[in-house]
C-alpha cells in the first residue's frame, strides 16, 4: 500500500508544499546495439519513445540516463544532444535507462494551480449551495484525495486506490500544518513551507498511514 505524494495549496492556488513519498519504480535499463529499434522523438524538454515497445519500455517513457549518467533534458550529461548521440553508430553498444519522467517543480506548480481552478469549477457546478468541492479524483492507478479547510487551504494526497484511512490522514496533516508550520514564528502565512519539523512529522504520519494498510488505522 502506498501514498505517492502530498501537495499543500494556499488560498490563492499557489503550491506551498510538495512531497513525493513513493514513486513506483518502473525504470528499465538495457544495453542496445546499433541500430536502435525504438523510435525516439523530442517532446517538451525531453526525449521520449514515440513508437516501439519491449521489455518494459513503453511508448511515452523518457530517456532518463545514458551509460549510467543522467541526461539533462535533451542533452547528455556531457552536453551532447541525445538524438545525435544515439544516431551515431560509433557510440554503440550503449546502455539506456527509460522510464516515466518525474514532474519538475514548475510543472507541479502549474498543475496545483490548475487543480485549484478545477476545484472552484466543481463547487460552481454543484446543484446544491455550499458544496464541499472536489473530495476525490479516481483513476485506475491512483486516487487523489482533497480536503479544503474553512480558511481555504487545500491538502491533497495521491495514494494507491486501495489505500484506506486517507480522510484521517488529511486531518492529521492539517494538525501537523497547524503545529509545525503555523506555530513556527518565522514561517509566513501563504508562503512555501520550509520547516524541517513539518517534513519529519509529515513523513512519520505517512508511514503510519501506510502501515495501516487497506483496512484503515486500528483505532
Amino acid at each position: 500500500m502506498a501514498i505517492f505524494s502530498v501537495y499543500v495549496v494556499n488560498k490563492a492556488g499557489g503550491l506551498i508544499y510538495q512531497l513525493d513519498h513513493y514513486a513506483p519504480r518502473s525504470d528499465t535499463e538495457m544495453t542496445f546495439s546499433y541500430p536502435l529499434d525504438l523510435v525516439l522523438r523530442p517532446r517538451d524538454e525531453r526525449v521520449v519513445v514515440a513508437f516501439g515497445q519491449r521489455d518494459g519500455i513503453r511508448v511515452g517513457h523518457a530517456v532518463l540516463a545514458i551509460n549510467g549518467a543522467e541526461v539533462n533534458g535533451r542533452l547528455t550529461a556531457d552536453g551532447k544532444d541525445v538524438l545525435e548521440f544515439l544516431s551515431n553508430p560509433a557510440n554503440y553498444p550503449v546502455s539506456i535507462r527509460f522510464g516515466r519522467h518525474r514532474l519538475s517543480s514548475n510543472e507541479k506548480l502549474m498543475l496545483a494551480s490548475m487543480f485549484h481552478s478545477l476545484f472552484a469549477i466543481g463547487s460552481q457546478l454543484s446543484p446544491e449551495v455550499g458544496s464541499s468541492g472536489i473530495e476525490m479524483l479516481e483513476t485506475d492507478t491512483f486516487k487523489l484525495h482533497c480536503f479544503q479547510t474553512l480558511t481555504g487551504i487545500k491538502f491533497v494526497v495521491l495514494a494507491d486506490p486501495r489505500q484506506a484511512g486517507i480522510d484521517a490522514l488529511l486531518r492529521k496533516i492539517y494538525e501537523i500544518y497547524s503545529d509545525f508550520a503555523l506555530k513556527n514564528p518565522f514561517y509566513s502565512l501563504e508562503m512555501p513551507i520550509r520547516c524541517e519539523l513539518f517534513d519529519q512529522n509529515l513523513k512519520l504520519a505517512l508511514e503510519v498511514a501506510e502501515k495501516a494498510g487497506p483496512f484503515g488505522p486500528g483505532s
Binding site: 463547487s123 468541492g133 479547510t149 474553512l150 480558511t151 481555504g152 492539517y174 494538525e175
Partner: protein, 174 residues
C-alpha cells in the same frame, strides 16, 4: 492544586504575558501605542491559532453570528484559556454581543498602576479574536468595555459583526 503542571503552566503564562506588556510600556511610553501593539500581536496570533482550533475541534462553518458566539465562548475560550465566558447583551439586530469573563487568566496577580489608566492590559485577546475570525471570512470589531483591572466587577468584551469578507472566498462558499 498547588504545584500541579496545569497551575505551573498558567503561572508561567501570566508571567510571560506580564513581561511582554511591561516591556511594551517601556518601549512605547504611551498607553495608546501599547494598546495598538498588543492588538497587532494578537492579530498575528489569531490568524495562526484559527487553524489549530479548526484542526483540533472539528467545528464546521458558522452560518450566523449566534453560532459564532457559541463556538467562541464554549469551545475556543475553553480550549485555550480554560474558561467559559457567558454570552449576553445581544443587540436587537443580532450583530453585537458581549462576552462576560468572571476571571481572566491573563490578569492573575495583576494591578494596574495610576499612570497606566488607559492601558488595555488584555488587548491581545481582541487582536486574537479579530485575526481568527478574519481567516474564516468574518470582519469583526472587538473591544473591552469593562475591565476588573480598572475596578469593574467583571471583564466584558464587546464583539460586533461588521461584514462578511467576500474576496478570496474558498471555493464552495459563495
Amino acid at each position: 492544586m498547588l504545584g500541579s503542571p496545569d497551575r505551573r503552566n498558567s503561572e508561567l503564562f501570566t508571567l510571560t504575558y506580564g513581561a511582554l506588556v511591561t516591556q511594551l510600556c517601556k518601549d512605547y511610553e504611551n498607553d495608546e501605542d501599547v494598546n495598538k501593539q498588543l492588538d497587532k500581536m494578537g492579530y498575528n496570533i489569531g490568524v495562526r491559532l484559527i487553524e489549530d482550533f479548526l484542526a483540533r475541534s472539528n467545528v464546521g462553518r458558522c452560518h450566523d453570528f449566534r453560532e459564532t458566539a457559541d463556538v467562541i465562548a464554549k469551545i475556543a475560550f475553553k480550549m485555550y484559556l480554560g474558561i467559559t465566558p457567558s454570552i449576553t447583551n445581544w443587540s436587537p439586530g443580532g450583530d453585537e454581543f458581549s462576552l462576560i469573563l468572571e476571571n481572566n487568566p491573563l490578569v492573575d496577580f495583576v494591578e494596574l498602576p495610576d499612570n497606566h489608566s488607559s492601558l488595555i492590559y488584555s488587548n491581545l485577546l481582541c487582536g486574537v479574536l479579530r485575526g481568527a475570525l478574519e481567516m474564516v471570512q468574518m470582519a469583526v470589531d472587538v473591544k473591552f468595555v469593562q475591565d476588573t483591572l480598572k475596578g469593574d466587577s467583571v471583564t466584558e468584551i464587546r464583539m460586533k459583526f461588521i461584514r462578511r469578507i467576500e474576496d478570496n472566498l474558498p471555493a464552495g462558499e459563495e
